[in-house]
Every structure is written in structure tokens, then in C-alpha cells.
Amino acid sequence: MKYIIAIIQPHKLEEVKQALEEVEVNLMTVSTVLGRGRQKGHTEVYRGVKEVGTLLKKVKLEIAVNEDFVEPTVGAIVKGARTGEVGDGKIFILDLFDVVRISSGERGGKAIG
């Protein structure tokens, strides 16, 4: 089992969701986060005071999958989120030790989907 964390552009969320649905991955946790990568953020000006390198709004997706869903999931996120520009985001793939479905108490691969 793998735990996939993807940081993407906020306006790409809809396309990523659609791409994930096409490969039958429907479960995800989404949050709004702030971050900064190679593009070094925006410049903001308030009454002449400049703030350089402000953190940018990003969307974070977290998806737990069984091994055979790893590549389709990663592929769908890349397909939905890529523009080819700096700032498209990153995907992190972590080993997942165990899963518990709270309602039934099921564990592991059965509990994941």
C-alpha cells in the first residue's frame, strides 16, 4: 500500500479529480495549503511596503491506494495537473504501514477503498 501526497495548482483540482475518476480512484482528502517552490512566490505591495516571496496558495491531495493503483493514480494526477510551467507542483509517494476503517474495524488492503 502506498500513501500518495500531491501538491498542485488550485485551479487544476477539477481536472485532476476528473482524471482520477477515469482510473476509478474516487477517494481523496483535499486541503488548501500555502507553499513555495522554485518560482519563489509573488510580490505583494501594501502602502508601498513590498513583501517578496509570499507563500502561494496550493491544493494538497492525499490518497491511500493498493499497489496496483499506484501508477494509474500518479498518471492521472500528472495528466490533470501538468501545464509544463514552473509551479505545477509535486507528488510524494510513501509506504503505507496499515489502514483501519473506523466503521467496521477492517484492516489493511480491504479497508483502503
Binding site: 505583494e44 505591495v45 501594501y46 502602502r47 508601498g48 511596503v49 513590498k50 513583501e51 509570499t54
Partner: protein, 410 residues
């Protein structure tokens, strides 16, 4: 007694009332999210505190019979004794004395509320409450008496202040600067940019201020006639010119105009036209507005960082500088053709008014600065004005009021 005049002054009173919540939202949006309630609270608390101070003794100190030498009113009108339905012809011959008193109450309320932006995000609430009561009684009330009270010494030298450029804006702006310096810079000053947490609230507050200012300036005619209309037109025109100018200056300096810039510019224009609005023509108002934006922009973006005082939300930069410019501008642009009860300014061939405005400024700036310094030191010695370091880091909403403006979890 005139029903039209009375109606207009009563409506104007309600308009001016709305400016204090307007200031609260203007400042609240500029603060960080952990401090917005403290600013709303300080302004709302001032409405309650000064309303009572005014009817109990503040109005009498400001407008009551002079105690001699033109420095302060006596206590004959304390508790509104003798302030009733009949007009007081010395102040306003066609409206009830009570409604003149109430109109003036709104000015006494908004003046300390303007100052809260200077010591924002680091003042202890208890000390703040005492400081405001002392300041209103010992700075605002005397200055209001000098300028507007019968027998006041500045009223008699021929200076002009139509709606409170000096009494309200210069006095609060200068006092705010003194307090900002004495209370010290916020933690993190120059290490971080204090980013406004909710600019839409600031725009809402700025809009309420502009709206209420029609009562502030138009109502200061104390009657429903041509003079009120002139004040109305010059107020809107100067404000528009100043907002536009600030935006254009930013466009040139930073490549794009900002929302905060256009609202700040408009506020600078409102302040600057205040002393002049009943004495100048609409065309002069355009010049006053444009220069108000330029002077205040320089004060906020060049002078403040160079001198390194943390006037957090630019009370001095906008109200102090804007009010000083408006007072000087009245001495330049005033014309008797607009208001026969006024005087001609320097541009209309009269030096006397210009000099009187100078005396007027020096007296009020000196007195407000010195008395504010004394009051601040006094309250600081008694209670300590600044919150503890940990309280400042956590924020005033939680530490001073045990409340939070925004919840993260349901």
C-alpha cells in the same frame, strides 16, 4: 427654529455616528487576524464611553460658558443643564440646542477612535480605556473649546476650520504619533511585513467613512442650504481626486494600483477637505485632494520607514499630515465668494488668514503632543500601557477579550 435645518443636522448626526464603526472596520481589516476584534472593540467601546463623558461634562467643557482666557468651558452645562429644546444662537440659531450638542458628540467620539490605529496590536485594554477618557477630557475638549467654543482664544484670532480638520484630525493624528513612539514598535518590526488580513473589510470601512463624511462636512453647515451643498460637493470632489491620484502614483511607482492605495488616498482627501469644505470652490477642492494624496503618500511610504516609528495603521500619515495640509490649504484657497462668513485665502489676496491658520496649527499641534505625552507617561506609570510579550504574540483578541474572530473548527 427651522424644521429643514433640524432634520438635516439630525440626519447628519446619524451619518457621523456611522463613521466610527467605519473606522473600526477600516483598521480591523488592516490588522492581523489575531487582533481584529481588539480594534472593533476599542472603537465600539469609545462610542459608549465618550457618549456618556460628553453628556455628563464633556460638552460643557467644550462648549459651555468660557471660564476666562478662552482656555476651557465651565461646568454650568454639566449633565446637560440648560441644554434643551430651544436653540443656542451662539452656535446654531435654527436648531434645538440638544441637536447641536448631539452632532458635536459624534465628533468627540470619532476623534479618539481615529487614534487606535497607531498603537494597534500591542495596547493593554484597561490602560487604553483610561487613556481615552483622559485624552478626550484633557486634549479634545480644550481644543474644541479654543476653536469652536464661544470665547475660545483661537475662535477669536480669525482662523478657519469648517468641520474639524484641526480639532479632529490634526489633534488625533499628532497624538497618535506621540503614542506610537512611546509605546514602541510591534514585535517583528522590520523582520516581517505586517500583511493586512482582510482588505475587503478595509474597503467596507473606507466606504462607510466616505458616506458618513457627507454628514461630518455637510452637517457642519448646521443648516440645510447652499453652504451644506457646497461642503457636500467639495467633499466628494476632493476625495475622488485624492483616491485617483494615490492610485496613479502607485501605478507609476510599482507598476500597478492597489485597492488599499485607492482607499487610503480617498481617506487622505476626506481629511484634507474637512477644514476647507465650506470655504473653497469645487475646483480648489480638486487641487486640495490631489496634493493631499501626494503628501500623505510621501509621509506613509518615505517618511515613516526613514524615521522608523511604527504608526501601525498610518494615523499620523493620513489624519495628521492630511489635516495639516487641509488647514494650510484653507489659508490658501478660501474665498468669501463661497462663504461670506469666512475669509479670503492667500491665493485671493489675503495674508491674514494664512498666518492665522499657522498660529492655529502650531498651538494645537504643540498642545496635543505635549499633553498626550504627559497622559501616556502617567497611565504607563500607573498600569503599564503595553501588553506582555507573550500576549502580543498570541494576539489581543484572545488575551484582552477572550474571544476569537474566526473559528477554524466548527
Amino acid at each position: 427654529m427651522n424644521a429643514g435645518d433640524t432634520t438635516w443636522v439630525l440626519v447628519s448626526t446619524a451619518l457621523v455616528f456611522l463613521m466610527t464603526p467605519g473606522v473600526a472596520f477600516f483598521y480591523g481589516g488592516l490588522a492581523r487576524r489575531k487582533n481584529i476584534l481588539s480594534l472593533l472593540m476599542q472603537c465600539f467601546f469609545i462610542v459608549c464611553l465618550v457618549s456618556l463623558q460628553w453628556v455628563l461634562f464633556g460638552y460643557s467643557l467644550s462648549f459651555g460658558p468660557d471660564m476666562g482666557k478662552g482656555l476651557i468651558g465651565g461646568l454650568e452645562w454639566a449633565g446637560l443643564r440648560g441644554v434643551g429644546f430651544d436653540p443656542n444662537p451662539d452656535y446654531a440659531a435654527t436648531i434645538p440646542h440638544l441637536s447641536f450638542m448631539m452632532f458635536q458628540a459624534m465628533f468627540a467620539i470619532i476623534t479618539p477612535a481615529l487614534m487606535v490605529g497607531a498603537f494597534a496590536e500591542r495596547i493593554k485594554f484597561s490602560a487604553f480605556a483610561v487613556l481615552v477618557l483622559l485624552w478626550t477630557t484633557l486634549v479634545y475638549d480644550p481644543i474644541a473649546h479654543w476653536v469652536w467654543g464661544v470665547g475660545g482664544w483661537l475662535r477669536d484670532i480669525g482662523a478657519l476650520d469648517f468641520a474639524g480638520g484641526i480639532v479632529v484630525h490634526v489633534s488625533s493624528g499628532v497624538s497618535a504619533l506621540v503614542m506610537a513612539v512611546l509605546i514602541g514598535r510591534r514585535l517583528g518590526y522590520e523582520k516581517q511585513v505586517f500583511v493586512p488580513h482582510n482588505l475587503p473589510l478595509t474597503v467596507l470601512g473606507g466606504s462607510l467613512l466616505w458616506f458618513g463624511w457627507f454628514g461630518f462636512n455637510g452637517g457642519s453647515a448646521l443648516g440645510a442650504g447652499g453652504l451644506a451643498a457646497n461642503a457636500f460637493v467639495t467633499t466628494n470632489t476632493a476625495t475622488a481626486a485624492a483616491g485617483l491620484t494615490w492610485a496613479l502614483v502607485e501605478w507609476q511607482q510599482h507598476g500597478t494600483p492597489t485597492v488599499l492605495g485607492v482607499v487610503t488616498g480617498a481617506l487622505a482627501g476626506l481629511v484634507a477637505i474637512t477644514p476647507a469644505c465650506g470655504f473653497v470652490s469645487p475646483m480648489s477642492a480638486i487641487a486640495i485632494g490631489i496634493l493631499a494624496a501626494v503628501f500623505c503618500y510621501l509621509a506613509v511610504t518615505v517618511m515613516k520607514p526613514r524615521l522608523r516609528y511604527d504608526d501601525s495603521l498610518d494615523v499620523f500619515g493620513v489624519h495628521g499630515i492630511g489635516g495639516i495640509w487641509g488647514t494650510v490649504a484653507t489659508g490658501l484657497f478660501a474665498e468669501r465668494a463661497i462663504n461670506g462668513g469666512g475669509a479670503d485665502g492667500l491665493f485671493f489676496g489675503n495674508v491674514h488668514l494664512f498666518l492665522a491658520q499657522g498660529v492655529y496649527l502650531i498651538a494645537c499641534v504643540t498642545y496635543a503632543a505635549a499633553m498626550t505625552w504627559v497622559l501616556f507617561k502617567f497611565v504607563d506609570a500607573l498600569f503599564g500601557v503595553r501588553v506582555k510579550k507573550q500576549e502580543e504574540l498570541v494576539g489581543l483578541d484572545l488575551t484582552q477579550h477572550h474571544e476569537a474572530a474566526y473559528t477554524v473548527l466548527e
